[in-house]
Point group: C3
Chain length 136, copies 3
């Protein structure tokens, strides 16, 4: 397992971690298989979406901020219930295909760390399973 | 990895791909393990839900269309921000158990490709990992 | 694959199943790999979030109940469309890293079975893939 370090600069932010995940795969010795990208936090998640136009991420975050306001009628005392709720929708893990020792993503797909209670230094865990040889 | 082809006929549509995924598994040589069903698009996703009553899928899509309207105050210039946003909630992959060389699903569960910006011809990737023998 | 049994006591409820999943892993012979926690139902899901303060789960469930009301303008005849819809957002599976034969979770993370149409006796499937030895 490889641990990535991600530094968020705002309370709510999507950060492209595709290259970091790809780099992490290099030393794992898995040529064909699947890769789990896992966020070990409860106020941040991970998703896959378009990276070409930054407006897509802005629209996504604006939607979630509108649906789950920061200040609301919440019971949790820490003032970040909105972040916990958003993580349930977004998810804590993604499962991605590995082919030829590389992440196999769609043309427009990028992997985004989703910060909902930053700024903070966060971790992302990457774990690959499969076979070392190229033959399936 | 096997690539499935899925043809959507409407802008927003859930398409049952269970049989296609099951067929794809047949040649993968994995008898016991897990299977990733992965959508390599950023305006379509995959989910698991009830297939017996088509009204369930209609209710699901009606909910998402109401929560994330097609036309809204979005920044992305392509006019499909709603589709990108829905994919974040629905997800781009599902992880399913393989037993005896077959998908193991619950009684009422079916796998649905979720089109949010059709009609289009789309791909779904299926990748299995595990062992060839039946012994765990 | 190990099948866990989970008994919900309310219509809508989050139940911490972390210990049950950890116990299930013990006999699977996978020391390093990933673990799929899979809910074979269409009106219940699984998520990972904070377990220290029970108010977090209350806030999560209150949010989903508000966003997707039990009684609404639904087509499905069984009166539980809200449960089917919530499962799409929450998800039917989680993928978790296994290290040293144990689940590797973040400090505050717990695995929650999410009941949306209880009370019922439910199943959760746990399947691990990877290698028996500690070397990656």
């Amino acid at each position: 397992m490889v641990t990535l370090s991600v530094r968020s600069g705002q309370r709510v932010q999507m950060i492209d971690i595709t290259q970091q995940v790809q780099d992490a795969l290099r030393d794992m010795g898995v040529n064909e298989g699947i890769c789990a990208v896992y966020v070990p936090h409860t106020t941040a998640g991970v998703t896959i979406n378009e990276g070409a136009d930054p407006a897509v991420c802005q629209d996504i975050m604006a939607h979630f901020s509108e649906q789950v306001p920061h200040r609301g009628n919440y019971r949790h005392y820490e003032g970040n219930s909105d972040a916990h709720i958003k993580v349930v929708s977004v998810g804590s893990s993604e499962t991605i295909v590995i082919q030829g020792g590389q992440l196999r993503l769609g043309t427009w797909q990028r992997i985004f760390f989703c910060e909902f209670d930053g700024p903070r230094t966060r971790s992302v865990w990457v774990k690959a399973v499969g076979v070392a040889s190229a033959r399936e």
